[in-house]
C-alpha cells in the first residue's frame, strides 16, 4: 500500500526547486517591463504596472544594441558553421580513415584538452594583433573554429558507422570525399546537430575572449556590451533587465526548440560507463 507522504515530499521539493530556479528569470523578465524605478520599490513589486516597452526601445535606439545583437548572431553562426564542417571531417577521419600516426596525433589532441584556454589567451591576442585580426569578427571566431572536444564528439559517433558500408562504397570506386558526403554525413547528422547547438550556445555566451579581442562599442557581442552597460547604468535596474532579457532570449529559444538534440549530445559525451 503506497503511502502518500513520500510522494508529497518528493513533489514538494521539486516544486520548491522549480520556484528557486525560475524566480530570478521571472523577475528579470517582469522588471524589464516595469517603468523606470518601479523595481526599487519597497516592498518589492512582482509585476509591472503598467507594463512598458520603454527600456527595450532605449536599448535599440539610444544604446544601439541591435548592432551588438547582430554581432553576436554573426559570430555565433559563423563559429557554428565552420566548427561543424571542420570537426565532422576531422572526427570522421580520426575514426574511420587509415593514415600513419593517426592514433598518436589523436592522443596528443586529447591531452591538449587538459590545458585551460586561459593559458594561450595572452599570446593568441598578441599573435592576432600582429596579424591585424584584433577587434574583428574573425579574431573572435578563431578559438571556436576547431575545438578539440568537437572532434572528440564526432569521432565517438563515427566509430559506430558500419565498416561494411564504407568498404562497399570503396569497392564501387567511390572517392573518399563522395563517401563522406553521401554516406557518412547523413549518418552523422544527429551528432552534427548536437555539436552545432553546443557551439552556438558556447559562442553566444562566451565572455572572456570577446572581451579581450574586441575594443569597439560597435563590435562588441551582447554579453560584452551588457557588462559594459552594467558598469555605466548601475542605477537603471529595469534597463539592465531588458538588456539581460535580450541577451538571454535567443539562446533560450534555441535550447527550448532543440532540447532533444542538445541533451542527447550532452549525455553521449558526458557519461563514461
Amino acid at each position: 500500500m503506497k503511502r502518500a507522504l513520500p510522494s508529497i515530499v518528493v513533489n514538494t521539493l521539486l516544486v520548491i526547486g522549480a520556484l528557486a530556479t525560475a524566480a530570478p528569470l521571472l523577475w528579470m523578465i517582469s522588471a524589464s517591463f516595469m517603468p523606470a524605478g518601479q523595481s526599487n520599490e519597497l516592498p518589492p513589486r512582482l509585476l509591472p504596472s503598467p507594463p512598458t516597452l520603454e527600456h527595450y526601445v532605449t536599448l535599440f535606439t539610444r544604446l544601439d544594441l541591435a548592432r551588438n545583437l547582430a554581432n553576436s548572431l554573426m559570430i555565433a553562426t559563423g563559429s557554428t558553421l565552420i566548427c561543424v564542417l571542420l570537426c565532422s571531417m576531422a572526427g570522421y577521419a580520426f575514426a574511420r580513415l587509415e593514415f600513419a600516426g593517426r592514433e598518436r596525433i589523436f592522443r596528443g589532441l586529447v591531452l591538449g584538452m587538459l590545458i585551460p584556454a586561459q593559458v594561450g589567451m595572452l599570446p593568441l591576442f598578441l599573435m592576432l594583433k600582429a596579424m591585424g585580426l584584433v577587434n574583428t569578427v574573425a579574431g573572435v571566431i578563431i578559438p571556436m573554429m576547431a575545438p578539440i572536444f568537437g572532434i572528440f564528439m564526432v569521432r565517438q559517433h563515427a566509430l559506430s558507422i558500419p565498416g561494411a558500408l564504407l568498404d562497399a562504397a570503396r569497392m564501387d570506386g567511390a572517392s573518399e570525399w563522395r563517401i563522406f558526403l553521401k554516406i557518412v554525413v547523413p549518418l552523422l547528422r544527429p551528432i552534427m546537430a548536437t555539436l552545432a547547438i553546443f557551439i552556438f550556445l558556447s559562442s553566444w555566451n562566451d565572455f572572456l575572449w570577446p572581451l579581450i579581442v574586441l575594443s569597439d562599442d560597435a563590435r562588441y557581442t551582447l554579453p560584452v556590451a551588457l557588462a559594459n552597460l552594467s558598469g555605466e547604468h548601475v542605477q537603471d535596474t529595469e534597463l539592465m533587465m531588458a538588456g539581460a532579457v535580450l541577451t538571454v532570449m535567443p539562446v533560450l529559444l534555441v535550447f527550448l526548440v532543440l532540447q532533444r538534440h542538445y541533451v542527447r549530445g550532452l549525455l553521449q559525451g558526458g557519461v563514461k560507463g
Binding site: 530556479t21 578559438p143 565572455f207 579581450i212
Partner: protein, 300 residues
C-alpha cells in the same frame, strides 16, 4: 583483417590528411603554438612597450614566477579561488545529485518538465545572470533580502560585505550550473538496474542505506567525471566577479583568472600575466590528480 588494395590505402591516407588538415592546422596554430608561446612569454618582462617594439622585452627567467608567488594579492586570489573550488564545487555537485534523485524518483510527477526547467539556467548567458543577480542581492531592494525578511533574517549586505561576497557568488554559481551535472547524473542513475534496488529493499534497506550501497557505488564513474569537470570549471572563475564586484570588496572576490586578466589587459604586464596563467594550469593539474587519486582510493 580485410585486405585493402594499395591504391585504396593510398586514397585513404590522402583523404585522411586532407580531412584532418584544416582542423589540425587551426588547432596547432591557434592553440598549441600560443600555449608554448605563453610559456616563453612568462619568462620575459613583456609589457606595453614591448607590444610596439618586441625587442625591448628581456628574458627574466623565473623572475615572473617569483614575483607571482611573493605577491600577496596572488595569494588572496588563490584563497578566493580555492574557496570557490572547495566549497562551491561540492555544493554544486550535492545540489545536482539531489535534483537528479528527485527527478529520477518514480514518485515524481512531470519529471520531464522539471528536468527541462532545472536546466534552463545552464544555457543562459552568465554575464546576463550576473547582472540580474547583482540586483537580487541588493541590500535594500533586492528580492533575496525581501524573501529572507519573511523568516526574520535582517537585511544582508551580500555583495558589500567582504565575508559574504564570495558565498554570494557561490550561490549564483550553484543556481546556474546545477542543471548540467544533474543531467549527467540522471543518465548515470538510469543505468543502474532495478533489480539491485529490489534486492536491497528485500534485505530491509531503507532509503539512505539503499543510496549508499546501491546508488553511489554504481554511480562512481559518472560521479567522478562530474566532480572533476566541475572542479576544473570552478578554477576558471572570472565573469561573476568581473561583472558583480570587480574583484572586491577588499579583493575578496578576486579570482586567479580575474587577476591574470587585469595584469595582462589592464596593466599590460603580459609576461607576469602569462606566469599567472601557467601557475593556474599547474595548480589545476595537481588538483585533478589529487582528486583522481582520492576517489580511486575510496573505490578500492
Amino acid at each position: 583483417m580485410r585486405a585493402m588494395s594499395a591504391p585504396a590505402a593510398r586514397g585513404q591516407t590522402l583523404a585522411g590528411w586532407v580531412f584532418v588538415a584544416p582542423a589540425l592546422s587551426l588547432i596547432l596554430l591557434f592553440f598549441f603554438v600560443p600555449v608554448i608561446a605563453g610559456l616563453v612569454l612568462s619568462l620575459t618582462d613583456f609589457d606595453i612597450y614591448a607590444i610596439a617594439s618586441p625587442d625591448t622585452a628581456r628574458f627574466v627567467g623565473l623572475g615572473n614566477f617569483a614575483a607571482v608567488l611573493t605577491d600577496p594579492v596572488f595569494w588572496i586570489a588563490l584563497r578566493n579561488t580555492m574557496f570557490f573550488v572547495l566549497v562551491g564545487g561540492p555544493l554544486t555537485v550535492a545540489v545536482s545529485m539531489a535534483a537528479a534523485l528527485l527527478v529520477n524518483s518514480k514518485l515524481a510527477r512531470a519529471p520531464a518538465f522539471f528536468r527541462s526547467l532545472y536546466f534552463i539556467p545552464v544555457v543562459t548567458t552568465l554575464v546576463a545572470m550576473a547582472v540580474v543577480w547583482r540586483y537580487l542581492y541588493h541590500p535594500r531592494y533586492g528580492l533575496l533580502n525581501h524573501v529572507l525578511g519573511f523568516v526574520g533574517i535582517g537585511p544582508v549586505d551580500w555583495l558589500g560585505d567582504p565575508r559574504l561576497a564570495m558565498p554570494a557568488i557561490v550561490i549564483l554559481s550553484i543556481w546556474k550550473k546545477f542543471g548540467y551535472n544533474m543531467l549527467i547524473l540522471l543518465a548515470g542513475l538510469r543505468t543502474i538496474p532495478e533489480e539491485l534496488y529490489e534486492a536491497a529493499t528485500l534485505d530491509g534497506a531503507g532509503w539512505w542505506a539503499s543510496f549508499r550501497n546501491v546508488t553511489l557505488p554504481n554511480l562512481a564513474p559518472t560521479f567522478l567525471f562530474v566532480c572533476v569537470m566541475t572542479m576544473i570549471e570552478q578554477f576558471q572563475l572570472f565573469a561573476e566577479p568581473y561583472v558583480m564586484t570587480q574583484g572586491g570588496p577588499l579583493k575578496s572576490t578576486t579570482s586567479i583568472v580575474l587577476l591574470m586578466y587585469e595584469e595582462g589587459f589592464r596593466w599590460w604586464r603580459m609576461g607576469h600575466a602569462a606566469a599567472i596563467a601557467f601557475v593556474l594550469f599547474v595548480i589545476m593539474l595537481a588538483a585533478t590528480m589529487v582528486q583522481l587519486r582520492l576517489q580511486k582510493e575510496r573505490a578500492t
